[in-house]
Symmetry: C2
Subunit: 398 residues, 2 copies
């Protein structure tokens, strides 16, 4: 074996304290979050001059709050305790397996945990996150990167003639795709308002969920396509020519950009690209679509506008309304005349969209349209959407 001469690599490791690094100045190294053997968690933050340090996170008790008509789960704030050397601490009780997010508040200012490099942006807000897994197969395990074969995730530009844009989507190909000749069924996975083609990969943990479900035989190997669901955007903020605009809940990009069509109208552009560039199994029996919130609305619209194209339909906290119109009745009738393999409606009972989901489900039931319904606890949260994705994916392509 040849000798390696780059003995100064060790030195180079130290030299990497360059400009970006030095922007922080001297940091205090703390372990936070510190997950104990009983799955309680200690958070620590250095804030020697602070008068008040608080913590909130979705592992804490929450109340359901009505903010001007928008009902959400709001976790409580807890006080952290100052100890030696300006280090504030808080320790939870034992936590169930789950992906959790949290943030500090130092003298009133929201403050990300500098000791925890794991952060995701969700719409306009960055928070820290961590995982609790107690045993193989639990929710925290399913959201973790485990020692299983991993699918590849690509950011793919495709032509959308309907929207008059080159647009970006994320594509998950299951482990083995690159080395085989096999064709795979396709799941189109839609994000909500304020999200983008990365959302299901970040807090949605779609790649880990699919890796783990496929490895355990809980889901069939499938291609997962995550389009960008903002018709006036080509891609997530910063990835296209609109510049470094700040993401917003409206999904609106830089001023002056207007969409040429809707996302459901442009859906065939996505499907055409996928079916002509990947080894896919075609037809309704091999095609699934689901989405959360706005993406549930998109999924419903696609199922309605192209009856017989989507064999498995999943509406997660879906923004799909019931309309009193003969045209609506006719279109929904056409969806079910094509005999979808699965029409799945899920929502949390504390979700503000629950009344919409409930009336939609009642409409299906009243008309005798076969469907599956899953009402869970909880509100309009990623926790629910990750669960619905796991439940829906398990039913696909059987």
């Amino acid at each position: 074996m040849k000798r390696i001469f780059s003995l100064i690599a060790g030195l180079a490791c130290c030299l990497t304290a360059f400009a970006q690094q030095n922007l922080m100045g001297t940091a205090v190294e703390l372990k936070s979050p510190d997950i104990h053997d009983d799955y309680s968690v200690t958070f620590r933050v250095y804030a020697p001059k602070a008068v008040s340090v608080r913590l909130t996170g979705d592992f804490l008790p929450h109340h359901v709050a009505d903010n001007n008509g928008y009902v959400t789960e709001v976790p409580i704030w807890v006080d952290m305790t100052e100890g030696e050397g300006g280090i504030w601490e808080y320790t939870t009780g034992p936590l169930p397996a789950e992906l959790y997010s949290y943030i500090f508040r130092v003298d009133g200012l929201p403050y990300a945990d500098p000791s925890n490099q794991f952060r995701y942006r969700d719409m306009t807000v960055w928070t820290n996150w961590f995982l609790i897994s107690r045993e193989k197969g639990d929710d925290g395990y399913m959201y973790s990167a485990n020692k299983v074969p991993h699918g590849n995730v690509s950011h793919v530009w495709y032509d959308s003639p309907t929207l008059g844009m080159s647009r970006r989507m994320s594509v998950y190909t299951p482990a083995g795709y690159e080395n085989g000749k096999e064709r795979y069924p396709v799941l189109y996975l839609c994000h909500g308002a304020g999200g983008d083609e990365d959302s299901w990969l970040d807090f949605g943990r779609a790649a880990q969920i699919l890796d783990n479900m496929i490895a355990e035989g809980k889901a069939k190997p499938m291609i997962v396509v995550i389009p960008n669901g903002n018709a006036a955007s080509a891609a997530k903020p910063g990835e296209w020519e609109a510049g470094l605009y700040q993401a917003s809940m409206s999904g609106a990009p830089a001023p002056g950009v207007r969409a040429a069509a809707s996302i459901p109208q442009a859906f065939p552009d996505v499907m055409n690209y996928v079916e002509s560039h990947y080894r896919v199994l075609k037809g309704a029996a091999n095609t699934a679509m689901c989405g959360l919130s706005m993406g549930g609305g998109h999924t419903f619209d696609v199922s309605r506008m192209y009856p017989g194209k989507i064999g498995y339909v999943g509406l997660f906290s879906g923004a799909q309304s019931v309309r009193q119109s003969p045209e609506y009745d006719k279109e929904v009738a056409a969806v079910f005349a094509a005999k979808p393999k699965l029409y799945y409606v899920a929502c949390g009972t504390a979700d503000p969209i629950f009344r919409i989901s409930e009336s939609f489900e009642k409409y299906l039931a009243d008309h005798g349209y076969p469907h599956e319904v899953e009402w869970t606890d909880g509100a309009h949260t990623w926790k629910n959407w990750r669960h619905y994705l796991m439940h829906f994916a398990a039913k696909l392509f059987r």
Copy 2:
């Protein structure tokens, strides 16, 4: 055209104020950074209870500091001024075109700008960033996502028998790759210590640089492969089974993981995967490799261990030493006996690695080995490495 029934999509937009969102509580909306017509920039932060708010960023004057032997550029801190309503401000002079990063310090605590959602992690530290472009073709333009054809970026798992792992690399395929039959040359692009397979895509802006250079005819269309350069890791933190360990400058993953071989020893695994899974042009004339710091050391070692394989070699602030040994002389002689098309050595004169680069370059000159050298201002910074990548890429495959 069919009518769209999801009229409640607008409502859904508002409903997305769910758990993560609410972790922040009420936010004060500010424009920060606010880039003015003369390219001066105003930063704003809401901190009504703060006694002191400061700002640092790589657009400010810096001094070259020696921290225990590690010489780096350290930008100054400037005081921000409190105005109405607890909003602190600072305005720069007009800035040259560049990608800049910055962070606040509120009563001593490093504080990311909550109004700026663009953040990258570099080793252990998250900072905000923004771009200044004054005209088409300047550095800020080359780092921006412009209205040009975009290449795809994939996160690809490959088998590394030498390291005994499935490992993750990032692969950029140029615009048009997916729709053609053409074969492309390959650039292997190596990160530094503390980095991972995303580093060149984040602060390195490699995808935007290549998109823009190819669109303007300044670089030949090429595939760019960014392997993970930490031999004891399979992927960036959080993407493999070591769990949510915190990135460190040593590149060491969870305790107990030991590498079975070095990155240069395992390089043939990367090349074999790329050459068997992508439409590549083979041979030294179609193969380039470059890297920064530790990645420069890896590049040197690969060029030395496999003479004749890499036709274009680029060492950016590279951690490659000169050794007084006949074996070393013989190996470097073999590199140049194979007549590489380009051997490029670049470093900032304020970089602590400069003396290493300089002595290496002198070795090449003393032996009459053809090479190109580029000494620039500046230290061990991404600003320099982005420039070197542009300069090196322009010379490839001609």
